[in-house]
């Protein structure tokens, strides 16, 4: 996307940190500044036509403020130092915060920061107090992978709004972007597919025959009540035993992209499924071509699987 004028004429500034100074700050009158100047002209004509010193003084005062404004606006930004943070991963299509550390000795008023490639409403706005402060500049990546948000524009028109002063910086740290979460079919290896699963589940029910799935027997205590009493053993041996139950351990999900779908779409479905399984605490693994991630659960497993999805070959 082509950058708007005059930013496209400005050479790029990269580097892990970016200090705002005379070589990196740019300033132009704002739209309000031009209107202000026009109003001063109107006041001047009023003063000359009506031989009114009051109107003339007001016009000159407005002009004086206009002449002073660029310095004040530039001083609001000059000396500020920006440093790249470590951006946390996120999903494509979501609004992600890009961390920028701002270090300043003075207070900075009414700043705005946004990435040039983003739509208009995604911006960080606020003032900075002396010291270090983190700015979370929002952006919305559209693709997975290690993505760079592009050119950051930090600007301010404080304190008078007559001039807008800005800097452009390309923060070098890329942000890991997972595929967008789109619910849909995924391939589950080592597990019957939906039709087979139905038949398997029907057979298993028939085999279970309503019997008790207890795992072991322990001596029965009165407070355990009669519900757990093993009546068969009582009838056979006359001794009172209590049944100890255990849920059948679920088999882990081993997921793979559905080969019937386009690659990116399949990865997005996988992303949604993994997110869902992680949320429900289930165990899962991932097979992506030659890469296999063993089944597991927890946040580390989630990050491992999503990172694999993000960086998977197209």
């Amino acid at each position: 996307m082509r950058e708007p004028f005059p930013d496209r004429l400005i050479r790029r500034h990269g580097g892990a940190s970016h200090r705002l100074g005379l070589r990196t700050l740019y300033i132009l009158p704002s739209g309000f500044g031009w209107l202000w100047l026009l109003s001063c002209g109107v006041l001047f004509i009023l003063g000359v036509q009506g031989s009114s010193h009051g109107a003339l003084l007001l016009a000159y005062l407005g002009l004086g403020l206009f002449l002073l404004a660029p310095y004040l606006t530039q001083f609001n930004l000059q000396g500020l130092e920006l440093r790249c943070g470590s951006p946390a991963p996120g999903f494509a299509g979501d609004v992600l915060p890009y961390p920028v550390q701002a270090t300043s000795r003075d207070q900075r008023l009414a700043l705005g920061a946004r990435f040039r490639r983003c739509e208009g409403d995604l911006a960080w706005n606020g003032s900075l107090e002396p010291g270090q402060q983190w700015l979370a500049v929002p952006w919305r990546p559209s693709q997975r992978g290690l993505q760079s948000p592009g050119r950051l524009r930090l600007q301010s028109s404080a304190p008078l709004g007559l001039f807008v002063c800005w800097t452009l910086w390309d923060p070098p740290a890329p942000q890991l972007v997972y595929p967008a979460r789109r619910p849909g079919p995924v391939l589950e290896l080592d597990r019957p597919q939906p039709r087979e699963r139905h038949q398997a589940e029907a057979g298993a029910d028939a085999q279970a025959g309503g019997s008790d799935h207890w795992r072991e027997l322990t001596p029965h205590r009165p407070e355990e009540g009669l519900a757990r009493l093993a009546w068969k053993q009582l009838a056979r041996s006359g001794e009172r035993y209590a049944k100890r139950f255990a849920d059948p351990r679920p088999r882990p999900h081993l997921l793979a992209p559905d080969p019937a779908l386009p690659r990116e779409r399949a990865l997005e479905h996988l992303s949604a499924r993994i997110w869902q399984l992680a949320a429900s605490g289930e165990s899962y693994g991932l097979v992506l071509g030659n890469q296999t991630i063993a089944a597991g659960s927890g946040s580390a497993q989630l990050e491992r699987c999503l990172a694999a999805l993000a960086l998977a070959a197209p």
């Binding site: 309000f32 209107l35 202000w36 109003s39 109107v42 006041l43 004509i45 009023l46 003063g47 000359v48 036509q49 009506g50 031989s51 009114s52 010193h53 009051g54 109107a55 003339l56 003084l57 007001l58 016009a59 000159y60 005062l61 407005g62 002009l63 004086g64 403020l65 002449l67 002073l68 310095y71 004040l72 001083f75 003075d106 207070q107 008023l109 009414a110 706005n125 606020g126 003032s127 002396p130 028109s157 404080a158 304190p159 008078l160 709004g161």
Partner: protein, 624 residues
């Protein structure tokens, strides 16, 4: 997002503009234009959803303020206008600073900005070339009170009831003014008579501007004239002198015409001149003898007798004898004269009138006796207000001092001022209207006295007002003179000087604003501590890197025990000020800051005492 403080400040500035509108001249279309702008800005503010709406409303207010500054140029409205400008800048700061401050901070910041802008403003005011009005000025309104273009019987008597000021004259000192009975301030010459009233001959276009006055002699005494809005475009003056503004011209009849509209207060300077004014020697026109024949038969018969028997100067003496010999009475309430032969009625029946009756009858008599004559209306007298703390002295002339007199043409003297009122009521000319009406309690009862206790206040205010207008009386001519004096042969460098001056003023403003930049409270405290500790540097006591304040104080006190009390107090005050809980910090900041200041002074005194001792002892203290 719209900042609530910015919205409140704009409401305040709109209120100030409305206040100024209330005191403006509603006859002027500009006043209505200003009202329209204020209403539009109010609606914009009420419906504002975005900062851009607020900014546009602010610009509309700025232009309305400029229009009002043109309509109300006096000092009082000027102060309100300055306050409005201050609030507008504060509103802009509040909006553009992202809500980072309270009302007091915004107003402080606004004052700072306006103060540092003053040098820029003065430079622009002095150096930007003065231009004349690009378009012809329409007569947009009329003054509220004052003299008019024609002299109706009783018109000036009505004006005499008005105690409001008409004009002020500010010479260097009272001695520069003529004596009290010679203080005639002419405004308009009425040279057409229709049998009942006098009026001025219609203007004859630009040709009426008769003679450009000669340049003022160097070092001549100068007077500042300040004239309130009046229905007449002609300016009052003493009849002699040179206008400092070349746009002011004198007509052949001795009227002074300026480039301004009558609806505004006018201010101009006159330099004294040794030359007799040219209009005095301007021969009369045939129309200066015109008299509505048959309109006043008795007067005409008397004058015809004089014309046949007496020389012109003797006709004048005969008229004086008539006025002084008959029981004429000076009064504010003359009987009505009727529409038929009013001058006959006055001269031979009622014999009671105000100045216009006397001037009108005398001028009629002279014309009927073949002596060119005309009526002049203006002001006579005025009271001197001495200089005080607020400004220089001035002569205050009220509408009450409105007057009419005559001028007659005598071949060997030119136009000569004759005041028949002075023959009848000399006290009026010597000491003012009240003296002229002495003993006439009915007339005196009509005169408004105002509030006596308010007079010193109003006069002091007028002193200030005059000083303000003296400052603002900076026209093209004044600029030429100033540039000539400052730049001399390098006059063409005016633009370059302006640019360099602006650069310097900008640098100064930026530097001052840098100094005024608000620093956090902790930073201020740290600077104070550094300043205090720097007093010990000449004694070779400098904090080491990483050394804490208590450790440094202990070391310094051990080395120079005389410093111990001061150091202990400094350390305690600083720590209490720096580490006090947030709530207490604000409440006790002043007290603790004083304590820190006292500790600083104590330390400075001790350091100074020690500094006067031999250096060897200071550098090599004895071991404890």
């Amino acid at each position: 997002m719209i900042e609530p403080l910015a919205r409140r400040l704009q409401i305040l500035s709109l209120s100030l503009l409305a206040l100024q509108l209330l005191g403006s001249d509603w006859a002027s279309p500009l006043c209505w234009g200003s009202l329209t702008l204020v209403v539009m800005a109010s609606l914009k503010l009420a419906k504002a959803q975005r900062p851009a709406d607020l900014r546009r409303g602010l610009l509309a207010q700025l232009i309305a303020l400029g229009v009002l500054a043109g309509l109300n140029p006096n000092l009082g409205p000027g102060l309100v206008q300055a306050a409005t400008g201050l609030v507008l800048v504060a509103a802009l700061l509040a909006q553009e600073s992202g809500g980072g401050g309270n009302l007091r901070q915004m107003l402080n910041r606004s004052v700072q900005l306006l103060v540092v802008c003053l040098p820029l403003l003065v430079l622009l005011f002095l150096f930007i070339p003065r231009l004349g009005p690009p378009w012809p000025q329409a007569e947009l309104g009329r003054g509220r009170t004052g003299l008019s273009e024609q002299l109706d019987p009783g018109a000036i008597a009505q004006l005499a009831l008005d105690p409001s000021p008409a004009l002020r004259i500010s010479p260097a000192q009272e001695q520069d003014l003529p004596p009290a009975d010679q203080r005639y301030w002419r405004v308009r010459v009425l040279d057409r008579f229709d049998g009942q009233r006098w009026r001025a001959a219609p203007a004859q276009g630009p040709a009426q501007a008769w003679a450009p006055p000669a340049p003022a002699p160097p070092g001549a005494a100068q007077q500042l004239w300040l004239v309130e809005p009046s229905p007449l475009s002609a300016l009052p003056w003493g009849g002699s002198g040179v206008p400092l503004n070349p746009q002011i011209t004198s007509t052949a009849k001795g009227e002074l015409l300026g480039p301004w509209q009558t609806r505004v207060r006018r201010s101009y300077g006159l330099a004294a001149s040794n030359q007799p004014p040219a209009w005095q020697r301007q021969a009369p026109a045939r129309s200066d003898l015109d008299f509505a024949a048959g309109s006043n038969p008795q007067l005409e018969a008397l004058a015809e007798g004089w014309r046949q028997q007496l020389a012109p100067a003797q006709r004048l003496a005969a008229a004086q004898a008539l006025f002084q010999g008959q029981p004429f009475r000076y009064t504010l309430q003359p009987p009505p004269l009727g529409d038929v032969a009013p001058l006959d009625q006055f001269l031979f029946a009622s014999r009671a009138g105000f100045c216009e009756h006397f001037a009108s009858a005398f001028t009629g008599l002279m014309r009927a006796a073949a002596v060119p004559a005309r009526v002049v209306v203006g002001y006579q007298g005025g009271s001197w207000v001495p200089a005080n703390l607020w400004g220089r002295g001035y002569l205050e002339v009220l509408q009450q001092d409105a007057h009419a007199w005559s001028e007659v043409w005598l071949a060997d003297q030119g136009w000569v001022r004759i005041d028949p009122t002075a023959w009848v009521a000399p006290a009026r000319i010597q000491a003012g209207l009240r003296s002229g009406l002495a003993g006439q309690w009915a007339d005196l009862g009509l005169l408004s006295q105002g509030l006596p206790w308010l007079r010193p206040l109003t006069r002091s205010w007028t002193n200030l007002d005059l000083a303000w207008n003296q400052l603002l009386r900076y026209d093209q001519f004044s600029q030429d003179q100033l540039m000539q004096r400052w730049l001399g042969p390098f006059r063409s460098w005016q633009g370059l000087v302006l640019v360099l001056g602006l650069a310097l003023a900008l640098a100064l403003a930026v530097w001052i604003l840098g100094l005024l930049r608000p620093t956090p409270r902790q930073e201020q405290q740290r600077r104070r501590l550094d300043r205090s500790l720097s007093r010990l540097a000449p004694l070779n006591l400098v904090p080491q890197p990483g050394e804490s304040l208590p450790a440094f104080c202990r070391r310094a006190a051990a080395q120079l025990p005389e410093l111990a009390p001061g150091l202990e107090r400094l350390q305690t005050s600083y720590e209490r000020l720096r580490f006090a809980p947030r709530g207490q910090e604000r409440a006790r900041a002043l007290e603790l800051a004083r304590s820190l200041g006292a500790a600083d002074r104590e330390l400075a005194a001790a350091a100074s005492r020690l500094g006067r001792r031999p250096v060897e002892r200071l550098q090599s203290p004895e071991p404890p």
